[in-house]
Amino acid sequence: MTAIRFSNVGKRYPNGHDALKGVNFDLHSGELAFLTGHSGAGKSTLLKLIMLMERPSRGEVWVGDQDLARLPRKQIPFHRRRIGVVFQNHQLLFDRSIFDNVALPLQLSGYDPVDAARRVRAALDKVGLLSREKLNPLTLSSGEQQRVGIARAIVHKPKLLLADEPTGNLDPALSEDIMHLFEQFNSIGTTVLIASHDLSLINRMRHRVLTLKDGRMVADVD
């Protein structure tokens, strides 16, 4: 089954810049793939189209069996709830504890608090931060903050996990740790798409690599 399908997708921003040009690819359910390219090659735009933070100018984007062009605005929140996202800048909230940051996706989906707490602790345990749940994320290192972001992305067990430069500011050892975390989630059936420009790391991991250059998909190597 296809998890993500891009069919001749183009994205032109209002300033006339073409971020994506005629992009085609399929990502199957349960696959792990890297999306690479120089900064400005269109990686973030591609992820934004999947998240419906942007709409394509041309072509079709499918997630699962949903054509995103046919998804009304009101359904966007529910679409986003089916996806876990890890951001380069973590996007954590510093006015609340680590626990509450991770619990946010469950709270807004209306989980029972007891059930939610159990899931939050399971997610924090997975990223090795269970003992820090009561702390404010500000007290954590950048790598740890990123792991909180990952815990939040997987706490509701999404079928699809996206990551935008998840190892952007991390040293090589930490980066490899984070990537192995993603491999773990992939091994239990989660489809994972990771945008990264860390080529040496990507080459060591031996997964499918999609390469963007100036908005075009120039390589798709398994």
């Binding site: 069996d65 709830r81 996007q91 954590l92 996706p105 807004l108 079928k159 699809l160």
Partner: protein, 337 residues
């Protein structure tokens, strides 16, 4: 038994059907009952949180509430004052009266027959004779100048006939007054109409002014709450963006701001209630003293249960409305991206 119950069978079917082709990444199904429970839980939680959030910046919140209180107290005070005035004047007969002061030298028999003649007239709705003796009694009862009468050997008061004419328009009433004044038995005819009319017009003006002022102040409340909520939205921009990114609906994002508007409105109204009661208490004494000069027992009424509830409800509705305006205007601008 169970085979005879078809509804039980059909109920089971969709569950099996739903299991077969799983749609996309739907993992955790939340039932309708669970959803409504979590919806109510979220409302309680958000109401509580936005209440406590007010007191994170106590001075700013209190300032806002004070402005709201003044804006709400003024109409509250005015309408209560009007209600009192209304009560005061509702006891007054607003029918136009004509009082005929008869000549003092008329005999009792002549007075009696004159009033009977008037009774026969078609243009009068009521005729009431107040004999000099009755007039004297009333005078003693209603004024404190009864010892003044000791200076007179005989009753100095004339007989008075109070009439209520059928006519209502000013010209006809004036004409009737003039006609009655011409009668030989009549010393003087007085039309008691103008002051009632003036009072009525004054009351209507005061009431209209109170509504206009109330409307303007309601607009003030809307704008003050709207502006306060707009600043709250601005200060929580990150939270809104992150929440939207992980799948918050517009309603979910909106909720805390609507509740803070509601709280502002409620607390503003409670303060307004206190202010209005205080203001009424301050004017009650002089009003009572003034009223005592005209009427014997008049009590100034404060805001009753109904008025108090109306004030609170108005405050809450305006607070919610102001928040709604701000939310509708500013929340759409904050999209992740």
């Amino acid at each position: 038994m169970s085979t005879e119950n078809p509804s039980q069978k059909t109920q089971k079917q969709p569950r099996n059907a739903a299991q077969a082709p799983r749609r996309g990444a739907v993992q955790h199904r939340i039932g309708l009952a669970d959803r409504s429970r979590s919806w109510r839980r979220h409302h309680r939680e958000v109401a509580r949180q936005s209440f406590f959030r007010l007191w994170v910046t106590p001075l700013a919140s209190l300032m806002t509430m004070a402005v709201l209180a003044i804006a709400l107290a003024l109409p509250g005070f005015l309408f209560t004052a009007l209600k009192n005035l209304d009560q005061l004047t509702s006891g007054l007969d607003t029918d136009p009266h004509i009082s005929l002061y008869l000549k003092v030298d008329l005999s009792d028999a002549r007075i009696d027959s004159f009033s009977r003649e008037l009774l026969l007239r078609q243009d009068l709705a009521s005729v009431e004779l107040i004999s000099p003796d009755k007039g004297l009694e009333d005078f003693k009862q209603y004024t404190r100048f009864d010892d003044l009468l000791d200076f007179f050997d005989t009753n100095p008061l004339p007989a008075v006939i109070t009439l209520i004419p059928m006519a209502r328009d000013a010209d006809a009433l004036a004409q009737l007054r003039n006609e009655l004044a011409q009668l030989p038995e009549v010393e003087e005819a007085r039309l008691d109409l103008e002051w009632v009319r003036r009072l009525g017009a004054f009351m209507a003006l005061a009431e209209r002014s109170a509504w206009v002022l109330g409307g303007l102040l309601a607009l003030t409340v809307l704008l003050v709450v709207g502006n306060t909520v707009r600043m709250t939205i601005e200060s929580r921009r990150d939270e809104i963006q992150v929440s939207k990114l992980v799948g918050a609906t517009d309603a979910w994002v909106r909720r805390p701001f609507l509740y803070s508007g509601l709280w502002f409105g409620l607390f503003g109204a409670v303060l307004a209630w206190l202010l209005a009661q205080l203001a009424l208490a301050l004017v009650a004494e002089p009003v009572q003293a003034l009223a005592a000069l005209y009427l014997n027992d008049y009590v100034v009424h404060g805001l009753g249960v109904r008025e108090s509830l109306t004030l609170l409800l108005t405050g809450m509705i305006l607070g919610l409305g102001g928040a709604w305006l701000a939310v509708g205007r500013h929340l759409k601008d904050i999209e992740p991206g």
